[in-house]
């Protein structure tokens, strides 16, 4: 195997080492190109990871549905009628749309986004109070600082327990005070705290100052009957959220006698849309990085080809001698192409190492922070392999230019050259 031929490598390293400064300058182009490629790819990976971290805990294939007021008169109802859902709607929707994986009904004390005064030992906080099912945790994950979230037993037994937000805790308790097991009072009813949660960074549907109590307890404590405020829904993977959204609206419109063309009566929010937008954004970003990087790399490799052309020119006579001594065009060509590959690969690896160092520094500076979506900026192994193979492939193609130049000179002309 010629690849393991010592003489080939001796000659290659000799020719490259002959003019070290020039070799280094030549490699610089590829080194920088590789740095740019890896930094771009790594940064877009970092952003993508950062966004994933921001959205961690929120099911991407989810939607929220709530009631608003009608905007069209229909079946004898006037416009402006407030739509109020009933808890039975949840069952109805779940039964009719099998693609729904999780459906968590919720009820809110007071108006939408309204607050209720919560008391404890003379301290108060104006918090949002929600009646929830434990399933909501599958859609918007609560980061619990202490204790637990609501569970099925709480629902079954209508326990007077609550999970409070960190903000609420700060308002109602002294710093460092133990809250678990303590009672807080909402509208004259006492609830025992079982958990404290920290808000999800950035995506935050419930607010930081919130109290969650079991849905069934809510019904009894605040006399809400069969009313339901809104629904958080997660659909099966592979099912389009928009399709389910439409089906739900159709069911609800039929049930509540809403005009089929009434767009305002039912409020909904498709979470997957945001995810899709961000995924599209990061994908485009990655693609763009790759594109820019590869072209920079191409420029670098062309510089190598350029210098090899000069080297070939300088070595015309030597090549002529070699051919007089029996070097076939293939052998001559191979040596120059291998030189191109060695230069490129070596420079590429140096650039890669430098860029990875930069990315590691960037990660240690910003990677763990919450405020900036930049997590683990690093290139993946497949990305590295693809870039590396592409680079080597380019160098082979481009190395062929000086290689062909070298064999185009007839040995006789090469020998004549003085």
């Amino acid at each position: 195997m010629w690849l393991f031929d010592k003489d080939l490598w001796v000659e290659i390293f000799h020719t490259l080492g002959q003019n070290l400064f020039r070799t280094f300058l030549t490699m610089l182009g590829v080194i920088f190109a590789m740095i740019i490629l890896v930094l771009l790819l790594g940064s877009s990976n970092g952003m993508s990871n950062g966004f994933n971290k921001v959205f961690a805990g929120t099911a991407s294939n989810s939607l929220f549905v709530w009631g608003q007021s009608t905007s069209e008169p229909y079946k004898g109802f006037e416009r402006g009628r407030r739509i109020r859902y009933k808890i039975e709607d949840a069952e109805l929707i779940k039964k009719q749309i099998p693609e729904i994986e999780v459906l968590a009904p919720r009820i809110e004390l007071g108006n939408y986004r309204g607050t209720t005064t919560v008391y404890r030992n003379g301290q108060t906080s104006g918090s949002a109070v929600y009646g929830d099912y434990p399933e909501i945790d599958n859609i918007t994950k609560k980061r619990l600082v202490e204790g637990r979230f609501l569970n099925q037993t709480d629902i079954d037994d209508s326990k007077k327990v609550c999970v409070i937000g960190e903000e609420t805790y700060k308002l109602l308790f002294e710093k460092g005070e133990k809250a678990i097991g303590q009672d807080i009072r909402i509208n004259g009813v006492f609830f025992s705290v079982v958990g404290i949660f920290k808000p999800n960074n950035n995506i935050n549907i419930d607010g930081e100052n919130a109290v969650f109590i079991p849905f069934t307890t809510f019904q009894k404590a605040f006399n809400s009957g069969d009313r339901m405020g809104w629904m958080a829904i997660a659909v099966e993977p592979g099912t389009k959220v928009v399709v389910v959204e439409k089906e739900i609206k159709e069911i609800l419109k039929k049930k509540y006698d809403i005009h089929p063309k009434d767009e305002r009566a039912i409020g909904s929010f498709d979470m997957s849309e945001i995810f899709n937008n961000i995924t599209a954004f990061t994908t485009v970003l990655k693609g763009f990085s790759f594109f820019v990087g590869i072209f920079t790399l191409l420029a670098g490799v062309i510089a190598i080809s350029n210098i090899l052309l000069i080297t070939v020119k300088e070595r015309t006579k030597e090549i002529g001698v070699r051919r007089a001594l029996g070097a076939t065009p293939k052998v001559v060509k191979r040596q120059i192409v291998v030189e191109a590959i060695v230069l490129t690969a070596f420079a590429g690896l140096i650039g890669f190492a430098i860029a990875v160092g930069f990315l590691a520094i960037a990660d240690s500076l910003w990677g763990s922070g919450d405020e900036f979506p930049f997590v683990k900026p690093m290139v993946s192994v497949p990305q590295f392999i693809i870039s590396f193979l592409l680079m080597v492939g380019l160098s082979v193609l481009i190395g062929l230019i000086p290689a062909n130049r070298a064999i185009k000179v007839r040995p006789i002309e090469a020998l004549r050259e003085e």
Partner: protein, 233 residues
């Protein structure tokens, strides 16, 4: 060994063509030492290039050791050169970053001889030209005569059928020239066929036969009494 019949060669120089070889007929037997003489422009270098398969003829026949040399592509030509011919150049043409030994071993490298055998053989030929102790030296550390002797060792390393020397003493002073010719004579004594292109009378007379070229034709072809170079060394 060498058979040439009615060889023609012309070069295109812009719109006119220059007829350099106008029907050369020439044969050389095994073991001959032939000097090819002629002034510049006589076509002697062109003839040598064609003999050396570095250039192709326009028409005519060329047989080397009964192998017709015709329509060679570069790969085939390279292989034939490697197998049949050893070149000795006026300017030595050693590869300057390779030691004497590596230079001599180069034709063997292209024959895909393994490294160890290559080095042994190369050392043997260096010994023959009296430069065994200089094996690890670079060409820049050698004198002109030494360089040419390394080049001769290199030409012989592949054990070719014919050695082609193009003005082998052209870049050397007369004492060194005679040393080199002495070596060439000894190699010829051992039975090797050698063609020497030269324009120096004294060098030509150290061969066994002189072929005179003028304006692309052989004007004279005579056997001579060889002058031994050893007496001048």
């Amino acid at each position: 060994m060498i058979e040439i019949k009615d060889l023609h060669k012309s070069y295109k120089m812009g719109s006119n063509s220059l007829h350099v070889l106008k029907g050369i007929n020439f044969t050389a037997e095994e073991g001959e030492l032939v000097a090819i003489m002629g002034s510049s422009g006589s076509g002697k270098s062109t003839l040598l290039n064609i003999l050396g398969m570095l250039d192709g003829a326009d028409s005519g026949e060329y047989n080397l050791d009964n192998v017709p040399i015709k329509d060679l592509n570069e790969t085939k030509a390279a292989q034939y050169r490697n197998k049949f011919l050893g070149f000795i150049f006026q300017s030595f043409n050693l590869i300057n970053y390779k030691s004497a030994l590596e230079n001599v071993a180069l034709p063997l490298y292209y024959q895909k001889v393994n490294r160890k055998v290559r080095q042994e053989k190369a050392l043997k030929y260096l010994e023959q030209v009296g430069l065994k102790d200089w094996a690890t030296h670079l060409p820049s550390e050698l004198s002109g005569g030494q360089k040419q002797r390394v080049a001769i060792a290199r030409a012989m390393a592949a054990e070719p059928k014919v050695l082609l020397a193009d003005e082998p003493t052209g870049a050397l002073d007369s004492t060194t020239s005679y040393e080199v010719m002495d070596l060439i004579q000894k190699i010829n004594d051992a039975g090797n066929t050698i063609l020497v292109v030269t324009h120096e009378e004294d060098i030509a007379h150290m061969c066994k036969r002189i072929v005179h070229l003028k304006d692309g034709v052989i004007v004279e072809d005579k056997k001579i009494e060889q002058v031994r170079a050893a007496q001048y060394v």
